[in-house]
């Protein structure tokens, strides 16, 4: 911790580690696969990335504040199921979506309450809610997928802007811009960084930890619900098992983007880069016909190389 001997430029260079990684991957894939560098493919990857990115943006706030949220995938599944379920029961699109998103916010705030008032470590608190919410999703769906019937709703995840740009990509960039501003331009964002950097010092400076944590985890829950709604729309159905393992993908995106897991240091743009890195890697492995057994090997190696390149604790 003490031996910080990089200059002022170094943090920026280090931050650019993930960007450099993405550019390298881009070049390699462009050379190796003729199908990679096409508008169609790039847009398709962006759309694939959008779900993970939406979740990872919320996760960035949680991690910056020194926490972690393992329940994002479970929130995605439950909110998606509730949205689809309400629509199937004949409630309108607005009500159903509102209920799904509202539920995501509330569930996130429950995490925040466990962490702040309950004084439970974030890892274990959200591990508990993850298990609980997965169970509730199964109970609610009875284990069967809930089909989506509303054509308007299906557009949300499957539609295009100007016949070209997939709508989920739009949502991703809108949410990114909003979150980046929230983090950099508002008092809330400042306090997030302060809590992650030194919670006690932040508290003594008058930062109110409990409301902050409710808001931070609430934001993560809300964005997971957004991802849940978009995914449900994209799949034309809500799956009880949707989103399994998404928490690890989101955390990987955040960390690959250069945000420190111990909190207080990081940026949202890095998370976008991290999510793209994962998305392009998956895409490239498929395009290059890497044997599926080796795909995991390659992914593991890439994760390790990427974090070694931008080495920090």
């Amino acid at each position: 911790m003490t031996q910080v001997n990089w200059s002022r430029l170094a943090p920026l260079l280090q931050r650019l580690g993930s960007v450099i990684g993405l550019v390298l991957l881009f070049i390699v894939l462009s050379v190796m696969s003729p199908d990679f560098l096409t508008t169609g493919n790039l847009l398709s990857v962006l759309r694939q990335v959008s779900i993970n990115a939406l979740i990872a943006f919320g996760m960035t706030f949680v991690i910056l504040a020194g926490g972690i949220d393992l329940s994002v995938g479970a929130i995605l599944a439950l909110t998606g199921a509730i949205t689809a379920g309400l629509m199937a029961a004949g409630h309108g699109l607005a009500l159903s979506m509102g209920a799904g998103l509202g539920l995501g916010l509330v569930l996130g705030m429950v995490n925040g309450a466990l962490v702040s008032w309950g004084k439970v470590a974030p890892f274990i608190a959200t591990l508990g809610t993850m298990t609980l919410l997965r169970g509730l999703t199964l109970v609610y769906t009875q284990g069967t997928p809930i089909p989506v019937t509303d054509a308007g709703f299906a557009l949300l995840g499957g539609g295009y802007l100007a016949h070209l740009l997939p709508l989920p990509v739009i949502w991703m960039f809108v949410v990114f811009a909003a979150c980046a501003f929230l983090l950099r331009g508002t008092v809330f964002g400042r306090h997030v960084m302060a809590i992650g950097g030194n919670e006690e010092a932040a508290r003594l400076s008058g930062v109110r930890l409990a409301p902050m944590k409710l808001a931070i985890y609430g934001l993560s829950g809300l964005l997971s619900a957004v991802a849940g709604v978009v995914l449900t729309s994209r799949l034309y159905s809500a799956q009880s098992t949707a989103g399994s393992g998404y928490e690890l993908d989101a955390i990987a995106a955040v960390v690959l983007g250069g945000t420190s897991l111990s909190g207080g240091r990081g940026w949202l743009f890095g998370t976008l880069i991290g999510a793209l890195l994962i998305g392009f890697l998956n895409n490239g492995l498929n395009l290059l016909d890497v044997s599926s057994f080796y795909q995991q090997v390659v992914k593991g190696v890439v994760i390790l190389i990427a974090v070694l390149l931008d080495r920090r604790q």
């Binding site: 398709s44 284990g143 499957g158 539609g159 799949l235």
Partner: protein
């Protein structure tokens, strides 16, 4: 179908045209998972058939995640494969992906599971519900229609768990047999072992165990080992390990699917599609109840 007005073919995908530009045609196989020997065998069958049919096979794996599968189907579309063999993670989630492929003039053949709400070029599968019923009928015959049964369930919420369970439960309901416990062991051998151990503590009087796949059945066999009880274990899938267990008598039966056959037929159908020959829209691969000879 469910296409909204704004939905139309993305620019480049339209140029797909179905055939790779040079040499051997490429067929994409989108697997649901490889964390299960069943699908590994399916893949192996497809690979063998590809070799003899002279097509190149590209395999992508969704790790049981529908969203990931959509992504990998999209990747196959971008690669402009000639045919996509789709082994869906779930029958309800892939309609959009199938439509994207079809819009790019890539025919889709579904393997093992269907996709609701779309018309595909061909569907090759064995029927899980029928398989569950076969297991129930077998047990009813062995036990003269009475006795207590334990059911080991797969990962809750997956289609295999749902359909096999439904076929089995419905058929049992029509007999004098009783399902005394239904517990999840998540298609996993180690969990099959411990859940069976636990259930045997609570249920002294059990005549049969139905496991929704062979892995769990083999776990149950381990749990029974060393216990002086006669319990019939019936599995599902007919994996090599499962078949061996039936042969040596530790399992009473397994509802064998022929995953290699599914894979093989898939590639052969794809070849026909490439050669513009007609194909059957529904190819049933028979299930076989394997019992000790």
């Amino acid at each position: 179908s469910q296409q909204g007005p704004g939905e139309s073919a993305p620019a480049s995908a339209a140029s797909g045209g179905g055939a790779a530009s040079t040499g051997t045609p490429v067929v994409g196989l989108a697997l649901s998972t490889q964390n299960n020997p069943f699908f590994v065998e399916l893949k192996n069958g497809a690979e063998q058939a590809a070799k003899s049919a002279g097509v190149q096979l590209v395999v992508v794996d969704a790790q049981d995640d529908p969203a990931r599968q959509i992504s990998s189907v999209e990747d196959l579309i971008q690669r402009r494969v000639s045919v996509i063999l789709l082994n869906p993670t779930d029958s309800s989630a892939l309609a959009g992906a199938v439509q994207s492929a079809q819009r790019a003039n890539i025919p889709v053949v579904t393997l093992d599971r269907g996709v609701d709400g779309v018309q595909v070029a061909s569907h090759i599968a064995s029927d899980n519900i029928a398989g569950g019923k076969m297991a129930a009928d077998f047990l009813a015959k062995q036990l003269d229609g009475k006795g207590n049964v334990i059911e080991l369930q797969g990962v809750p919420g997956t289609s295999a768990a749902r359909e096999r369970g439904k076929g089995f439960d419905d058929a049992i309901a029509g007999t004098g047999m009783k399902i005394v416990a239904e517990q999840p062991a998540n298609f996993d051998r180690a969990q099959g072992l411990s859940v069976t151990e636990n259930l045997l503590q609570a249920n002294d009087n059990v005549q049969a165990i139905f496991a929704q796949n062979d892995e769990m059945a083999l776990g149950a066999v381990q749990a029974l080992a060393g216990k002086n009880r006669k319990v019939l274990v019936v599995g599902f899938d007919g994996t090599p390990d499962g078949k061996a267990a039936v042969e040596n008598g530790s399992m009473a039966a397994t509802v064998a699917q022929q995953p290699e056959e599914i894979g093989k037929l898939g590639v052969q159908t794809a070849k026909k599609l490439i050669d513009k020959q007609p194909v059957e829209t529904n190819i049933a691969v028979p299930l076989k109840l394997l019992t000790k000879p």
